[in-house]
């Protein structure tokens, strides 16, 4: 017989749905140490990772939640007219990437890296709640600083910003050949 706490965790995470629930809340609910609670959660993640399961247990923005596996969608579409998924343009992705890695960052700094203006793009990303104004820089004119939001973490399947893949360095000469294959 497994640790009964595991089934409790599973039920709690299920109830909170898309809102998710933090490790701290889970540990509190079952009155169990955080580190041990995490081990149980990891086991649950492992259980749902298996091919037999239609959902997976994920941690986005430090919150545990169940979401369907990618292959489910096409079957649901046969009985429910899901509208097509929203695409992000290459320029939106580049702008988001720069903000995620360099935040907080001003518009001018983003434009220096991209080599093109991005005023309109910043407005769009703000409207999509993927970035937010997070203050003003100390420099001349006190320009607005931009940072990414919690929705960004969820949309890119990130537990936290620390989980962002490392920026390539290219300093290693062996990697060079891979740069433009």
């Amino acid at each position: 017989m497994e640790n009964p706490n595991k089934s409790i965790l599973e039920g709690i995470i299920f109830i909170f749905g898309e809102d998710g629930v933090t490790l701290e809340q889970l540990s509190l609910a079952i009155d169990y140490p955080i580190d041990l609670t995490k081990i149980l959660c990891d086991e649950l993640i492992e259980h749902y990772h298996h091919d037999d399961r239609g959902m997976e247990l994920v941690v986005f923005n430090d919150k545990y939640k169940f979401i369907t596996k990618p292959f489910i969608r096409s079957y649901v579409e046969r009985i429910l007219t899901l509208s097509k998924t929203r695409q992000l343009s290459q320029s939106a992705l580049e702008t988001l990437a720069i903000i995620a890695y360099k935040q907080p960052i001003t518009r001018v700094e983003i434009e220096e890296i991209r080599g093109v203006g991005c005023e309109l793009m910043l407005k769009k990303l703000q409207a999509m709640e993927l970035i937010t104004e997070s203050g003003r820089a100390e420099s001349v004119g006190k320009p607005i600083l931009y940072s990414i939001t919690e929705s960004f973490l969820d949309l890119f399947k990130l537990m936290s910003l620390d989980e962002l893949p490392n920026l390539p360095t290219y300093e290693d000469r062996t990697e060079e050949s891979q740069l433009f294959e």
């Binding site: 299920f14 109830i15 909170f16 749905g17 898309e18 809102d19 997976e56 939640k65 169940f66 979401i67 369907t68 596996k69 990618p70 292959f71 489910i72 969608r73 649901v76 998924t85 929203r86 992000l88 290459q90 320029s91 992705l93 580049e94 988001l96 990437a97 720069i98 890695y101 220096e112 890296i113 991209r114 080599g115 093109v116 203006g117 309109l120 407005k123 769009k124 409207a127 999509m128 709640e129 969820d154 949309l155 890119f156 399947k157 990130l158 893949p165 920026l167 390539p168 290219y170 000469r173 060079e176 740069l179 433009f180």
Partner: protein
């Protein structure tokens, strides 16, 4: 000569175009032959001008920088204080640095794309609200107020307008290189022998027009309609070139 397949839509900006040229010409980004890149870039932009396409100002700004770099390189080193060699090295290093930096974000955005696309296919289930509210009648799981609702509606409207820009009138007027060359030709009064650089840019209120003016002057020099008279620290003056008059 192989003609370019001229189309700017596929690029995210001048840096993206340069990276494309580097890749196409199999140049080494880490040991960059800047002159080759510059020639390719200039050729590409010229080819674009032939097809009468509007060229975004960003491409012209980079073009101006590259032309400046190239022309400084061609100038004889008259004034040792100018230290052309160092200028060249700095400009080249800066360009390579920017290209590498941009390439990093291009790479990373592709990896983000994969994550994003996968997440788009994965669906969330709502919180079990009936269950949650049932646990405690006094307790409301969600809390919101009417201001949240208005804010959400305003965001919707803002995004609607952003994605339907055809409803918005832009009052941005841009002038083409050819038009500006014509304007400068009209400024050239036959009774005068020399012209100040300032005269040609007197009406350039925007950075865009300034750059187009600068390019127009360079183009007129290339065609032999204008010639450089003197260049000093304070001023640049032009004279009428050998081809002036024949251009009419």
């Amino acid at each position: 000569m192989v003609r370019f397949q001229v189309n700017l839509d596929q690029f995210e900006g001048p840096l993206d175009l340069m990276l494309h040229l580097i890749k196409e010409k199999k140049l080494d980004l880490f040991n960059l032959e800047v002159d080759v890149l510059i020639d390719q870039y200039i050729e590409y932009i010229h080819a674009l001008e032939d097809t009468q396409l509007e060229i975004a100002s960003e491409y012209l700004v980079e073009l101006a920088t590259l032309i400046e770099y190239k022309s400084k390189k061609c100038l004889p080193v008259l004034d040792p204080i100018l230290d052309i060699a160092n200028y060249e090295k700095d400009t080249k290093d800066e360009l390579v640095r920017r290209l590498i930096e941009y390439q990093k974000f291009k790479d990373i955005s592709m990896r983000l794309q994969t994550r994003y696309d996968e997440r788009q296919l994965q669906m969330d289930k709502p919180a079990d609200l009936g269950y949650l509210n049932e646990i405690d009648d006094k307790y409301h799981y969600y809390e919101s107020d009417v201001y949240e609702l208005i804010k959400a509606m305003e965001k919707c409207i803002a995004r609607f307008h952003l994605s339907h820009p055809s409803q918005v009138q832009f009052t941005k007027s841009e002038i083409s290189l050819e038009e500006r060359m014509l304007q400068i030709l009209l400024m050239i009064n036959k009774d005068k022998l020399t012209y100040d650089f300032e005269e040609f840019i007197a009406d350039a209120q925007t950075i865009n027009l300034f750059i187009v003016s600068f390019l127009a002057i360079l183009e007129l020099i290339r065609k032999g309609i204008l010639g450089i008279d003197t260049v000093s620290d304070e001023r640049i003056t032009f004279k009428l070139g050998e081809q002036y008059g024949k251009s009419k």
